[in-house]
């Protein structure tokens, strides 16, 4: 090995001297020098300039020339230069292709690997054909270093030319690499396969029993990074039964003792996911016990790792509280924890707190409330309140701690306490009013809107117990105009409450507030509320009482606030970024290929719209109305892009949704009650109109702010649905208290399909996330999907095909039920079915059963699942027996339900 020349200065930093004029020329001369060390130094200088962001691409050919050398050090340097430009200036790198191909045959494995690695980084389609030959040789290279590099190269190539990878059989070779003798090759093989599986949405991993055994065997041999890849693949596999699950868990459990936190986290994920399959109580208990120590140990790692662990533990304790039920003291904050760790620890503590440990927890929280960090102190104070809301029996203790903290008179402590005490009142009405007096002593410390609003709410709600409620309100009213809208709204309501409870003293005050709210304010919410109260009070004070002073629903403990469906999704995403953000991956993972599909669709629709508008610019609305909203539904899908027409579309939606169209109607059910969505109540349904699938939303805005723009994301589902447009623009906006609807066009794409596990039924729901662009709040819901919405118009089979298929399907794959119908007229049913793409194949009387008739139907979903149905009718009876047969057993029940709905 040649030693590096030691020149004056003796360090690489001398290469960083600024480039003066003529230096490029000098470098060029040096690069062509015959002296090797001069050459090496020159290349180093070029790389130095490159790393500080200077453009040295003009030296490309000169540097490239240096690659023709036997000196490995020089060759590596040139590759270092090339790999940088491979990404940013691919057309330049094309010049080097011949060199790559040659080097891929070099006797030195290091060079072979370098060539393959660099070549894969050139994202130009032209190069791919040159790449295939060397790549396929490298994948079978005798040297593991080359094989592992080639494995990654397959993933690179898939990104540029997926068909090529599939055609050339590279995926199969990757599969073989899983059982390679070298651990690094295994790791890269699994990594490449997993990535391809994720980006393509195809199950290229294909975990069969034999692959499973390979993976499990590799787990013991692999590098730590490879272990993470393998464990992550395993977590996506659904074991055939509890026995297999137990078997895999047994092989995975030793990973919990790995020093690498990533291996531990991924092992935890596999075990948690498989635990659902295990029914034996003993095994479950053992696993629960085994999971606790490694999770707690993660809390002793670097703070960054602790943070990741804590975000995950937050989910785990919601799903399986038993695992850490005795470990609460490990989550107590250390004084030198960084703030982000402390905050997460508080979240976990509040989830683990129970009657048994609440005393201990309160002592801790009280200590935290005296620390210096304001955010931490606030959260500690509000955590005390959350304990009270969660544990009825501890509420009194919690309140006394809060009162003690209020005595400290520390501004932000008092305010936080007031806010949380309001919530305690809403949880336990009329129980702890004795503390109101203490609160009233601290009115002057309140300067934050939330705290003020909370205090005013308390005053209004308990006006009859507070001697000087009107005086207190009066002091707040002095600054009414300057207050935050939330405070103004509370003041208005509280004054009205006060008036209804004691009209004599507050007549003048309520008049003044109503005046200010309705006449002097620009805030529409405030004005609306003011007018409503005014009207109520002036027409029927008793009715006003009934409305304003009605009993309010008791609030719930919000400490386990994730919805069960979301929680399940996130549990399956343990040890990914999803589990850090507590959001499903679709919400934040932006990926090029999925977007390009969506964009294509958009363009197509836009084109149609333009046509429509072009032909009949002014008659657009009315025509659609006559058409019973047929075209309206279709256009609504892309309406937001055309601002000028939006009003018309708004009308259309009303017409289309409200009129009982001859075609299919959409049954909407409430999917979101407003508690998690800032007051937006959502009813959701699915339908298909003129071949367009859509998701129909009715929104009732009970929140404070108008709804103008929402963005929607659908989770991958068993139906492969994706919105054609993610932005839902409401013009005019849905004001607070108003309602509106929206029709979202959907496409069916394999990218969004979640394969249904063998033997399981397809989950009937579609999960959606909606982001309100006004305040960036995100809420989630799951809507039951109606399968008939994706019945395709080409679902009719000819008779022979039908009979053959019917016979070929095993009788065990049959589901049936009896439905009550509105009519006994078979023709009506056939018509109804035809409207939803369920096609009649044959109709005949049942032999030897007079008065009975059977009708055969076929239908097919846009996801290419076919269903055959047999309906048996009896003359004069308004009911029928439905029998559905299909190879797509996972969907058979859903298809049967679809038929039942359509028949009714």
């Amino acid at each position: 090995m040649p030693s590096k020349p030691k020149t004056a200065g003796g360090s690489d930093s001398r290469f960083f001297t600024t480039q003066k004029k003529g230096e490029t020329h000098e470098l060029r001369t040096d690069l062509h020098s015959t002296d090797r060390s001069t050459k090496v130094d020159a290349v180093k200088k070029v790389i130095a300039s490159m790393t500080v962001g200077k453009d040295v691409s003009m030296l490309f050919t000169d540097v490239l020339n240096c690659i023709q050398t036997d000196n490995i050090e020089l060759k590596k340097l040139v590759y270092l230069y090339l790999i940088n430009y491979a990404k940013s200036q691919p057309e330049l790198t094309l010049l080097a292709v011949n060199t790559f191909v040659k080097d891929a045959n070099d006797p030195n494995p290091l060079i072979r690997a370098l060539a393959v690695r660099t070549m894969g980084c050139i994202r130009v389609e032209k190069i791919t054909e040159y790449l295939c030959e060397p790549l396929s040789r490298s994948l079978r290279d005798e040297d593991p270093y080359v094989r592992k590099t080639a494995a990654v190269c397959v993933a690179k190539l898939y990104d540029i030319a997926p068909e090529l990878v599939e055609d050339r059989g590279f995926l199969e070779i990757l599969h073989d690499l899983i059982s390679d003798a070298n651990p690094s090759v295994v790791a890269n093989g699994v990594a490449a396969l997993s990535e391809i599986a994720e980006t393509s949405g195809k199950d290229v991993m294909k975990i069969s029993t034999s692959v499973l055994q390979k993976l499990l065997a590799a787990l013991n041999e692999c590098t730590e990074w490879g272990q993470v890849f393998i464990l992550d693949s395993l977590s996506k596999y659904t074991p055939a039964d509890g026995r297999e699950a137990e078997g895999i868990i047994e092989r995975v459990t030793p990973r919990l003792q790995h020093a690498n936190s990533a291996v531990v986290m991924s092992a935890v994920k596999v075990i948690l996911n498989y635990m659902n399959m295990i029914t034996t109580e003993d095994t479950l208990r053992t696993l629960t016990r085994k999971l606790a120590p490694p999770l707690v140990t993660l809390l002793n790692s670097e703070p960054e790792t602790q943070y990741v662990a804590l975000r995950n533990i937050n989910l785990i304790v919601q799903k399986r509280p038993q695992i850490l039920e005795n470990a609460i003291h490990f989550f107590f904050c250390k004084y030198n924890d960084p703030i982000y760790v402390k905050m997460e620890k508080l979240e976990v503590i509040i989830k683990l707190v129970g009657e048994r440990n609440v005393e201990q927890v309160l002592l801790e929280l009280k200590e935290y409330a005296t620390e210096v960090d304001v955010d931490f102190v606030r959260k500690s104070v509000s955590s005390i309140g959350r304990c009270a809301i969660k544990l009825e029996r501890a509420a009194e203790r919690c309140i006394s701690v809060l009162l003690e903290l209020i005595q400290s008179k520390v501004n932000y402590v008092v305010q936080e306490a007031v806010v949380v005490i309001k919530d305690i009142f809403r949880r336990y009405p009329n129980k702890y009013e004795s503390v109101i007096a203490t609160l009233c002593e601290n009115l002057e410390t309140l300067d934050e809107p939330e705290a003020k609003a909370s205090m005013i709410w308390i005053i209004g709600e308990y006006a009859e117990r507070i001697d000087n409620a009107d005086e207190l309100l009066e002091t707040f009213l002095e600054t009414f105009e300057e207050e935050d809208p939330s405070v103004q709204l509370q003041l208005l309501t509280a004054t009205v409450k006060c008036f209804l409870k004691a009209p004599e003293e507050t007549q003048e005050m309520v008049q003044r507030v109503l005046d200010m709210a309705t006449e002097e304010s620009d805030n529409p919410d405030l004005r609306d509320r003011g007018f409503v109260y005014w009207r109520l009070l002036s027409t029927d004070p008793e009715a006003a009482k009934a409305v304003v002073l009605s009993e309010k629903p008791v609030i719930e403990d919000d400490t386990s606030k994730l919805e069960p469906e979301l929680l399940d999704t996130l549990i399956s995403q343990i040890a990914t970024l999803s589990s850090i953000y507590h959001k499903p991956p679709e919400v934040f993972v932006t990926r090029a290929n999925i977007r390009s599909v969506a964009e294509d669709d958009d363009e197509e629709y836009e084109y149609e719209d333009e046509n429509d508008v072009g032909v009949q610019p002014s008659a657009d609305g009315p025509v659609d109305l006559l058409d019973m909203g047929g075209g309206g539904g279709e256009q609504n899908g892309s309406a937001p892009q055309q601002n000028g027409d939006v009003d018309l579309f708004g009308l259309d939606t009303g017409g289309g949704g409200g009129a009982p169209a001859a075609g299919p109607t959409c049954v909407k059910t409430q999917v979101c009650d407003g508690s998690q969505s800032g007051g937006i109540i959502v009813n959701c349904g699915f339908m298909q109109l003129n071949g367009k699938v859509s998701m129909e939303l009715d929104l009732q805005n009970n929140g404070q702010i108008p709804v103008t723009t929402l963005a929607i994301q659908l989770n991958k589902s068993a139906f492969g649905l994706a919105p054609t447009n993610q932005q839902l623009a409401f013009n005019p906006p849905i004001q607070a208290g108003a309602s509106g609807s929206y029709s979202i066009g959907l496409t069916v794409t394999p990218n969004m399909m979640v394969p249904v596990a063998a033997g399981a039924a397809a989950p009937p729901t579609v999960q959606a996330a909606i982001k309100n662009m006004a305040n960036n709040s995100v809420f989630y819901f799951a809507a039951n999907f109606t399968l008939e919405s994706i019945f395709s118009p080409d679902g009719a089979l000819d008779r022979t095909a039908f009979i053959n298929t019917w016979k070929s399907i095993d009788d065990t794959k049959e589901v049936y039920s009896t439905v009550q119908l509105a009519t006994s007229n078979i023709e009506t049913i056939i018509q109804k079915f035809a409207a939803t793409n369920i096609f009649q194949i044959a109709r005949r009387p049942v032999p030897n059963q007079p008065g009975q008739e059977v009708v055969y139907f076929s239908c097919k979903t846009m996801t290419q699942h076919s269903f055959l149905a047999e309906l048996t009718f009896k003359e004069g009876v308004s009911a029928c027996k439905i029998c559905v047969k299909s190879e797509a057993t996972a969907y058979a029940s859903l298809a049967k339900e679809a038929l039942e709905r359509c028949a009714k």
Binding site: I47, R117, H258, A262, T297, N336, Y340, Q407, E450, I580
Partner: protein
Amino acid sequence: MASLSSFFVLSPRGDTIIKKEYRFSLGQSGAEKDLKSSVEMFFRKVKFWDTSKDGGWDGPDEARAEADESENFDMPKVDAPPVFLLDGESFLHIKRSGLIFGCATRYNVSPSQTLELLAKIAKIFKDYCGTLSEEAIRKNFILLYELLDEMLDYGYPQVTSTEQLKMFVYNEPIVTTPIVTEKTKGSNGKTASAASVHKPVSVGGVSSGKSGKNEIFVDILERLNVLFSANGYVLNSSIDGCIQMKSYLSGNPELRLALNEDLVVGKGNGQSYGAVVLDDLNFHDCVNLSEFDGSRTLSFYAPDGEFVLLNYRIASEFRVPFKIMPAIEMVTPTKLEIMLTVRNEIPAENYGANVVCRIPLPRATATVFCEMLGAAAGVEQTAEHLASERVVEWKVKKFSGASELSMKIKLSLDSPSTLQTRKEIGPISLGFEIPMFNVSNLQVRYLRIAETSPSPFRWVRYVTQSSSYVCRL
């Protein structure tokens, strides 16, 4: 999948020292992004992390953020969480020696894996440069790029072990003298430990036989978390321990390291009296555990450079090395006296080094007078009132075992003392390091090195440190 789009190292001022792109970055709009600008955006976010607006936790609403703005100016700097989303990409970062090691990804990666990888890269950089500093990285940048190319391919972690990397690396490290004054966390800086040997691993593809000394460092390092109540009882205590090694052995001999024979792992295994009971432990990849259950012996081939052989955790009670006994007396409503006694309960032959005791004082403090009482001759100690931080810092350079030291702090207040004033005193924290002593009694019975003709030097050290050692008042 764990695939990074880019990796970068930033100086404390936000300059990009090293950056490497593995994938095209896509912004929220789907357009390609310039790495430079997104790194700048990332740095601003980290530097000025605002909990009230960006909170990864349930951030309070905007209105309150505004109300807080005036306060924000003199608020302590807030550490940004290590993982966050910014313009369609996730950024993950760790801090090492004041430098930020960060990366961006647009995939749903495993955050633990990514953070472990960043830590590993930092470690490799340190192994090869000898020390981790802006200067060392700048001087060795070509070497480091060479290393990075081997450590990550297309954003996937590849070879990350120091000695395996040697086979692929042709540049030689340039040694820089470590900056001693640099603020380093944890184990570094106080007393010599394996981590503080500032010597790069030898590079050169072939054997490193003649290049350096044939030696190995073994540290049994224990960090203590102890929480005392005001009356001196231990409320909560735990030990985070690890065996940390740094190997400069020639050849790559098999090592056998034996621990206490009476070592018990996990609770509830019945008899554990007198034994060393660990609640949990985990091992480095290289360890062969076949003899662990029988004889508590580990066999392994030590990777080059620094590595953690095993981590352990003890949550059961142990004898705490220092006891903190505070007492507060109100002389007059505006005069308080804090009497503080710290007793070192370790054997007399050991000592605590660089013991630092910090006592937070109330807001209303006007003047402070500290008086150190009854110290034996030769005890080097100082007490200082740091008005800006509102603490008294009491430092003892060498605190002998089986001895005690006391101090009296006399405070005069601006306003009469209230319950709240009393609460503002504390919690008292203690920082220390005890060389050649460990609390758990975990011991290395022997470290055998196979095939040794010139017997290598074996440096086995025990160190106990404070992690969170606090007394509430």
